[in-house]
């Protein structure tokens, strides 16, 4: 197969896998409604907590964090645990038999997930803003778009890495994805600032910055709520760009390794582990 044939095949694969995700948005409309409504419930609880404390300035922080949380949930359940679910539903063998690159399949999932989740995330932001009296100070929309795209690419790179790691696992995959919820909410500052806060030691900030969500939320809040521009988030942009490239490269290496290990151990298609 020539390079151009190979490229075309993988582009078709990306489209096909992303299409399934897009179709899923309309196939089960109640899921889409739930994925907007449910985060709004917990987000509202934290807004009310800040109201109780009289800390009204943090209400917008919570709404932006809650909107970005949709991406983390999608990365965990729509990417990381996806190959485990494909295994459980008997679909994984079809992926393995297909001539396309496994990375193309993962990229397709990521692209579909990004589009779907962006719609959900914007809905959460819009409804949250309507429900509570918050205001924004956006002065640099281009910087906002750039930070958002880099955050999402880095996040889905992390999702592809986790999906590869979890290829070997059975129920562990689902439980580990579950485990990566609250501790990541805690570290990444979904409901409060982390990078700019003096509550957290520098060591915690450095560790938290390995999660693209932390840097992304912080930069988006600076631009969208505090009215900052690209010059104020240069470090965030550089770190996010590096993370995006590094995570995609590592995901590719790990996917090959884990596929090889799973095949040798006979666990690739083993269900109900």
């Amino acid at each position: 197969m020539s390079f151009s044939d190979d490229l075309l095949l993988n582009i078709k694969t990306i489209y096909a896998r992303a299409y399934v995700r897009m179709k899923g948005l309309t196939r089960e409309p109640h899921w889409s409604i739930a994925e907007v409504t449910i985060p709004l419930l917990s987000l509202s609880a934290y807004v009310y907590l800040y109201i109780t404390l009289g800390a009204y300035e943090y209400m917008a922080f919570v709404i932006v964090g809650g909107a970005m949380l949709a991406f983390w949930s999608n990365v965990l359940w729509g990417m990381s645990a996806q190959l485990y679910w494909e295994k459980d539903t008997g679909m994984l063998q079809h992926y393995m038999l297909a001539p396309a690159s496994r990375m193309a399949i993962l990229i397709g999932m990521a692209v579909g997930g990004m589009i779907n989740t962006t719609i959900r995330s914007l809905s959460i932001l819009a409804i949250g803003t309507l429900l509570f009296p918050v205001s924004y100070a956006l002065n640099d929309p281009v910087a906002l778009l750039l930070v958002f795209l880099l955050t999402v690419i880095a996040l889905y790179g992390m999702g592809m890495l986790f999906a590869s790691l979890f290829l070997l696992y059975g129920r562990e995959a689902s439980h580990i994805a579950d485990l990566l919820q609250e501790p990541i909410y805690l570290l990444s500052g979904i409901y409060y600032p982390v990078i700019g806060s003096n509550i957290f030691p520098n060591a915690v900030k450095v560790v938290a910055s390995i999660i693209p969500l932390t840097l992304g939320i912080d930069a988006i809040r600076l631009i969208l709520i505090m009215g900052k521009g690209i010059g104020d988030v240069t470090l965030h942009v550089t770190a996010l760009a590096l993370l995006a490239v590094a995570l995609l490269v590592v995901a590719r290496v790990v996917l090959r390794k884990m596929e090889d290990v799973s095949k040798r151990q006979g666990r690739l298609l083993l269900r109900w582990q």
Binding site: E28, H30, I38, Y48, L53
Partner: protein, 280 residues
């Protein structure tokens, strides 16, 4: 009658053993313990940090203890409701054993109770460890000087936990019933239920902050009275009103759960949903 009771007890015990195994045998004990405590501890510390950051210079220890106790003991309803709502999917579609459980004598209700108790036991460990680590973290690293009074009313605390567990199992039973005649709702239903309970039960803030109509809903939830009763027993407040309300809402819930499960069971057999795999 004796035979009926002994079979029911055996099924409940088997449900507990099975629940414990399924919840714990996917990994080694170290990873399992980490899993069981990391999530609740993270949630407890998260709420504490929101209060510390939102309070600025002065943290109100009353509000802090209110939220700290609320989020810690909310582990019970969250875990039990999620586990029972997800149970139908797990038994029917994933492991394909629901039809076998159903055809054994006295199985379904006793089995659900057994699985609920298994989750409640695991939750008790999570609550205890979260309380200890939460107090340690906030006292050591944030200098809050929180203390749980030595005069805890243990009989009230233990009774409220036991009544609460009954109430959450009944709530889980209602979600179980809904899932029995529907498909693909198992995740959203449990998340909706825990999301609504988290927002409206006064878990991290007093319900007086909510708009008035929502306060009325809040007052009808057993979780609201469960958490207030727990707070009263630990902090030494008067508790009789909350105890009465928890018992009343639990009795109402038991009637609703019984009626719904009874009706749904018949409907599920009519529609053939007990052994139909539609999730995959």
């Amino acid at each position: 009658m004796l035979d009926y009771t002994s079979i029911a007890i055996r099924v409940i015990v088997q449900g507990i053993i099975l629940g414990w195994k399924i919840e714990s045998n996917w990994t080694n004990p170290f990873v399992f313990i980490t899993y069981m405590v990391a999530k609740p501890i993270a949630a407890v510390i998260l709420v504490g940090l929101v209060i510390i950051i939102g309070s600025g210079a002065s943290v109100s220890s009353d509000l802090f203890l209110y939220s700290f106790i609320g989020i810690t003991f909310f582990i019970y309803p969250a875990n039990i409701v999620i586990a029972l709502a997800y149970l139908v999917h797990e038994d029917r579609a994933k492991y394909e054993v629901l039809k076998y459980i159903y055809v054994t004598p006295l199985s379904l209700r006793a089995y659900i109770i057994g699985r609920g108790i298994a989750t409640a036991v695991n939750s008790s460990i999570s609550v205890l460890i979260s309380l200890m680590i939460g107090l340690f973290v906030f006292n050591t690293y944030f200098g809050l000087e929180l203390s749980i009074p030595s005069s805890i009313d243990y009989p009230v605390l233990i009774s409220s936990i036991l009544i609460g567990i009954v109430s959450f199992i009944l709530l889980g039973m209602i979600l179980y019933a809904i899932n029995l005649i529907t498909f693909k709702l198992q995740y959203s239903l449990s998340e909706y239920a825990t999301g609504v309970l988290f927002l409206l039960s006064g878990v991290v803030f007093p319900i007086e902050i909510l708009p008035y109509p929502l306060q009325l809903v809040s007052a009808s939830l057993p979780t609201t009275h469960f958490l207030n009763l727990i707070r009263s027993s630990i902090l030494g407040y008067t508790y009789m009103d909350h105890l009465m309300m928890l018992v009343t809402t639990t009795l109402l819930l038991s009637a609703v759960a019984y009626i719904i499960l009874h009706k749904v069971e018949l409907r599920a057999r009519m529609k053939g949903t007990i052994d139909r795999k539609a999730e995959y």
